[in-house]
């Protein structure tokens, strides 16, 4: 990674660093071909809809750090999502047996005065107040469009007051306008956390650090632990729902891998450079083939290639009969998959094993690092499919749902409600769904069967809900606006 500028204050955007694209529509084959030739173009849309920004991931993720106080150095609205985030925080904590409490957040509540005269004074007051009120081990400072445009020097302010504040202050540079690729926000968040990770003392030679996003919850962690424990590998989850002393000691592990290569991309490279921790970033362990792939890569980090083969063999034999049962019930069905691309492609691999045809697979952004290898794998295993890459963009989904008429949406929070509104039943993969590993394959396979057996909710809703688009739109090319008038 020649262009990876580590240790700078501000992480480069994904577009700059990985040539990430946020607008593509076409076949999987075309995407692979263009990617290999290096001619994927960064494009915009002539029409765009509300989506996520680079500030959301840092706010959302740092809210899940145990004991943290999140400071939004922003106008009041940028942290408005916290009620929603509190719901996920509650769920995540509950599943891990942690005491239930509120997310602690302070907004610097920038007003017209600060926009003219600068807001760093407000920030300093907020940090001091957070420290006095809650005595937290860590305080994360989230920047915003407004603080970025007025040019507040957040780092200088933090350095000025850090000596008088007990908590470690972590500034996260994540102005919402910096990147159309939401994962830039992950990079900003994890880059900030690296600031508190200490030099390793003694290495825990059998422990792997596994990066896990909010959307892959506790039941999935249990399955991964079950499989790795069989060959004597311990797991340390990172970075959510864990306390700061665990985060500080993150570098003591023998290796690092990830349940979401989209999330961990920047972090691993900086982590390796700083602390010499080797890493592997296989696709998400969903379905048999990708779980095998993931386990082999993870085991290899600790030199346990041979031991893991036995586990894989046993598990295959164990789940095969039940998987065949599920497969019979799903024969000939068509699915639309809608998540970030790392998750979509892994679920697509499971669907291949369940005998379901994927007609469209969605990603919110694409880069070769986590996209190319699984796409090439899938290309050889299934007939061609459409890939839709967009920072959400519901109008394109609506068109594709209508054009492809899938039997089921394999999707999450982002697309789920929308498929229902067009009469397509959803087999949801939500923050409480179990879908990874071998047991997860069975569990989620059964979920799909259930969703297909009774689609009445989707059918009812679709008859009574009107979508806002003109009817002509549904006969147009769904990707018509990509690269048009892109300013």
């Amino acid at each position: 990674m020649a262009n990876l500028k580590l240790h700078s204050k501000i992480v480069p955007s994904r577009e700059e660093r990985l040539n990430t694209i946020v607008a593509f529509g076409g076949s999987g084959e075309e995407l692979v071909k263009n990617a290999k030739k290096g001619c994927l173009k960064q494009q915009e849309r002539g029409f765009s809809q509300a989506a996520a920004c680079a500030e959301m991931m840092p706010i959302c993720n740092s809210a899940m750090l145990d004991g943290n106080v999140v400071i939004a150095h922003s106008p009041i609205g940028c942290s408005a999502m916290l009620p929603m985030i509190s719901l996920f925080n509650k769920l995540g904590r509950h599943m891990r047996g942690l005491p239930l409490e509120n997310v602690r957040s302070i907004s610097t509540n920038l007003g017209e005065h600060d926009v003219v005269y600068g807001g760093t004074q407000e920030l300093e007051k907020a940090i001091i107040e957070a420290d006095i009120r809650h005595n937290p081990p860590v305080i994360t400072v989230i920047t915003s469009c407004a603080s970025g445009i007025i040019g507040d020097d957040v780092d200088a302010a933090v350095n000025r007051i850090q000596p008088g504040v007990k908590a470690t202050i972590i500034p996260l540079h994540c102005e919402g306008f910096r990147s159309g690729a939401v994962a830039t926000g992950y990079d900003a968040f994890l880059h900030g956390l690296l600031k508190v990770i200490e030099k390793p003392g003694e290495r825990k030679k059998d422990t792997l650090l596994i990066v896990n996003p909010l959307s892959i919850s506790r039941p999935n962690e249990v399955e991964i632990e079950r499989l790795l424990n069989k060959i004597g590998i311990n797991v340390q989850w990172f970075p959510l729902f864990t306390n700061i002393s665990n985060i500080k000691k993150a570098s003591e592990v023998a290796g690092a891998t990830t349940l979401c290569p989209l999330m961990s991309n920047y972090f691993f490279r900086e982590f390796e450079q700083k602390y010499d921790v080797p890493f592997a970033e296989p696709p998400m362990p969903v379905g048999i083939e990708f779980t095998d792939w993931w386990l082999r890569d993870a085991a290899k980090l600790l030199g346990k290639e041979k031991e893991i083969e036995k586990v894989i063999e046993d598990e295959h034999a164990r789940i095969k009969p039940e998987l065949e049962d599920i497969k019979i019930q799903l024969k000939g069905k068509k699915a639309y998959i809608g998540f970030n691309l790392a998750k979509s492609l892994s679920l697509q691999s499971l669907l291949v094993e369940l005998g379901i045809d994927t007609v469209v697979t969605t990603g919110f952004e694409y880069s070769d690092d986590y996209g190319l290898a699984p796409l090439e794998n899938l290309k050889s295993r299934c007939s061609d499919f459409t890939v839709h890459i967009g920072n959400f963009q519901h109008f394109e989904w609506a068109n594709l749902f209508n054009r492809e008429k899938p039997d089921v949406l394999v999707g999450g929070l982002e697309l789920g409600g929308w498929a229902l509104r067009q009469g397509i039943p959803v087999a949801p993969v939500l923050p409480q769904t179990f879908f990874t590993g071998y047991e997860g394959a069975l569990s989620y396979g059964k979920d799909i069967v259930k969703s297909l057996k009774n689609p009445s909710f989707a059918k009812n809703l679709a008859q009574r809900v009107k979508l806002p688009y003109r009817k002509e739109w549904y006969s147009e090319n769904p990707f018509k606006y990509i690269g048009v008038n892109g300013q």
Binding site: G46, F47, S48, Q49, A50, A51, A52, C53, E55, M56, S74, P75, I76, G77, C78, S79, A80, M81, L82, P83, M84, S86, L87, L100, N102, R104, S105, I106, S107, T108, N109, L110, G111, D114, V115, E122, K125, A126, E129, R133, S144, C145, A146, I149, I150, G176, F177, R178, N391, Q393, H394, F395, E414, G417, L467, P468, Y469, R470, Y481, Q487
Partner: protein, 452 residues
């Protein structure tokens, strides 16, 4: 004690300190965006960074006990999603393109352009782009004067109505006898807005009025266009919406009355209905007759719950941390109708200074309790917790943010009645009107006697 707390921002005053812990509102942009979504058929068009729409939509909708709102919410909302280059080169072209492509793609009765921080800071001339569009197209369009830092989401609600009045509504109009508008219930910020608007509408229809709730019904833009035809505007809020009603009086000559706090239970609701009737010249006896059955029925349910109330919650101390509208309604009902004792009422919606005395009066005068509550205006969640710790409450009526705190630190029962509400689902639920008090007791007794 209360006095060593950092003083937080106060409306219309230079703030001592800006900072706010776990705020209970969003920005004007957020308020205007949810208000737009709450009128059917309107197309909100966001001129903001990429994430402002989502953040505010999911924040305000999830925070008001809901899952979704409107026909064009969340990912469906057109947004210019401004990036770094637009900050350098300006975002007007991006907005122009967005308006044209939205018109190409979407059916909409009214386009509502809602800007956030970025265009205000870089100086985009949104008015010009909107006027250009208006000149060339038939689709009606208005432009709300929001940004991220010119006030809170309550003001955003008022700015939305301002834009409607200034840019959409035309005069002269013929006044329609018996038509009234309800103003002052802000979608989402008032967590019971859906149920309360329906119930207030139903209540006023009992006395023969035609009610325009403006938000939340199926009539869409028609409910906006009907606003000037009203014979009377009813502001159901001790402060919010008064300026809107003033403006409507100036522009269309519509008189208005203010209901100081949500009418909860038969007693307050009867007063409310009589006040409205008086203003419209409806004879008192006619109203008495129209609402007799409702009152009887409400007290029948009151009878059902009386034993439980007496055994479980007689003479209970309770504290409230809620918006002024809800705080007044619930406090008056629980004291005057149920015999409970209010210790402290914390007002969390930051009313303008000039309105605070009247809010205080409604909470301390004509209250049948041996004690009068302390009334404190505070919007910072940490400070609210500190204040609550000073009072021995059996019941805390607050937001979801007081839930764990009430159980762990106060050993008090907790019911979510104010924003943010993310521990209950609220669709048709209402505490207003003749039966609203019964609903409140139902929820409260459920926490008391059957929490397991």
């Amino acid at each position: 004690m209360v006095n060593n707390i950092v003083k937080t921002v106060v409306n219309n005053e230079t703030p001592v300190v800006n900072l706010l812990e776990s705020p209970r509102h969003s920005c004007t942009f957020g308020g205007a965006y949810t208000a737009t979504n709450a009128v059917k058929g309107l197309v909100p068009i966001l001129h903001t960074g990429p994430g402002c729409g989502w953040t505010n939509f999911f924040g305000l909708v999830a925070g008001s006990g809901g899952g979704f709102l409107g026909d064009l919410g969340a990912m469906q909302t057109p947004s210019s999603s401004l990036l770094e280059k637009h900050i350098v080169f300006g975002g007007e072209d991006k907005l122009r393109d967005l308006l044209n492509s939205t018109n190409e793609l979407m059916n909409g009765e009214l386009f509502v352009v809602i800007p956030g921080c970025i265009p205000t800071m870089i100086g985009d001339d949104i008015g010009m782009v909107v006027n250009e569009f208006r000149a060339k197209n038939n689709t009606p369009i208005i432009h709300v004067k929001t940004s991220g830092f010119n006030g809170n989401s309550y003001k955003g609600y008022e700015l939305f109505l301002d834009a409607v009045i200034d840019q959409l509504l035309e005069e002269p109009v013929k006044v329609k006898k018996g038509l009234v508008n309800i103003i002052g219930i802000a979608p989402c910020q008032h967590i019971f807005w859906k149920g309360d608007l329906k119930e207030l509408q139903r209540t006023l229809e009992l006395i023969g009025l035609e009610v325009n709730p403006i938000f939340g019904d199926l009539k869409g833009i028609e409910s906006l266009k009907k606003i000037p035809e009203a014979e009377l505007n009813i502001v159901v809020n001790p402060w919010l919406g008064k300026e809107v009603a003033d403006k409507l009086e100036t522009k269309f000559g519509t008189p208005f009355i203010v209901q100081y706090g949500l009418p909860v239970g038969p007693r307050e609701t009867e007063h409310f209905v009589q006040d409205v009737g008086k203003k419209l010249g409806i004879p008192r006896e006619k109203i008495d007759q129209a609402i007799q059955k409702e009152i009887k029925e409400a007290y029948q349910f009151y009878n059902y719950i009386s034993n439980g109330l007496y055994m479980g919650l007689a003479n209970s101390y309770f504290g409230v941390a809620a918006e002024s509208n809800i705080a007044i309604g619930l406090t008056r009902f629980l004291t005057n109708d149920c015999g409970m004792m209010p210790t402290v009422v914390i007002i969390t919606d930051d009313p303008p200074l000039k309105n605070r005395e009247s809010i205080k009066q409604r909470l301390t005068e004509d209250i049948n309790s041996i004690n009068k509550p302390d009334v404190i205006f505070e919007i910072d969640t940490y400070n609210i917790e500190k204040i609550l710790q000073n009072y021995p409450n059996l019941i805390v009526l607050g937001s979801s943010m007081e839930k764990y705190f009430s159980a762990d630190k106060l050993s008090a029962l907790h019911l979510t009645v104010s924003f943010p509400a993310y521990d209950r689902m609220l669709l048709r639920r209402t505490y207003s009107g003749f039966f609203g008090g019964i609903n409140l007791l139902e929820d409260l007794m459920g926490k008391m006697s059957r929490p397991f």
